[in-house]
Amino acid sequence: MDVLYFAWVRERIGLPKERVETGAATVSELVEELSAREERYAAAFADISALRVALDQELSDFDAPLAGVREVAFFPPMTGG
């Protein structure tokens, strides 16, 4: 699946988008998997309460299953308007 990062999550991880092959069943499992990879991921995901997640471009939550999902995006709370 495609994993996208925005705002300071993108800056901390150092890239806007990557292709990830994963067996993670939920968003939380994917976060654990990524955090285990490298320090920059662990730093970005250190405080999950400061993050939001979208699955296939719809706001979701960290308990949500990943089955069938093609695009996951991680970002801080939005500041539009």
């Binding site: 500041t79 539009g80 308007g81």
Partner: protein
């Protein structure tokens, strides 16, 4: 209903005129315009990042929710992204309704949801450095009244 997510400036006067002229049979037209503010002095630019693909559909959903909740003739949302200078207009919404209460409430609803539920992120570039604008608790709280 028109939703525009764009980098280039928009023409507030022309958009207001066209929107109001098209809203036949409506008694009330409300517009809101957001402007880049240099609160502490020293702001050089505001950089607005967004999530292409999701942005327009998220805004469309918010606008459709507004149409379901209030009696509205029309809705307009324009939101810019990219690098903006202080004083530049970031975004506008417009609502047209038979009565003023619906036009006002729907415009406030749109603004409250655009603030916290549309995938935009703002970064302030100042002479001293740069930093992401943090979401404010009161903006999240503002959603509770709807």
């Amino acid at each position: 209903m028109r939703i525009a997510v764009q980098e280039q400036p928009f023409d507030l006067g022309a958009e207001s005129d066209v929107f109001a002229a098209a809203a036949t049979g409506m008694g009330a037209v409300v517009t809101f315009t957001g402007v880049v503010r240099d609160v502490d002095g020293g702001l050089e630019a505001m950089e607005i990042e967004h999530y292409p693909g999701m942005t327009e559909s998220a805004i469309r959903k918010i606008a459709e929710d507004a149409r379901d909740r209030w009696s509205l003739g029309d809705v307009l949302v324009i939101h810019r992204y990219g690098r903006l200078a202080p004083g530049e207009r970031i975004m506008m919404v417009a609502t047209a309704a038979p009565h003023r209460k619906d036009a006002f409430e729907a415009a406030e609803f749109l603004m409250d949801y655009l603030k916290s539920r549309a995938p935009f992120w703002k970064k302030e570039i100042t002479r001293a450095g740069e930093g992401w604008v943090a979401a404010r608790c009161e903006d999240e709280d503002a959603l509770k009244r709807w």
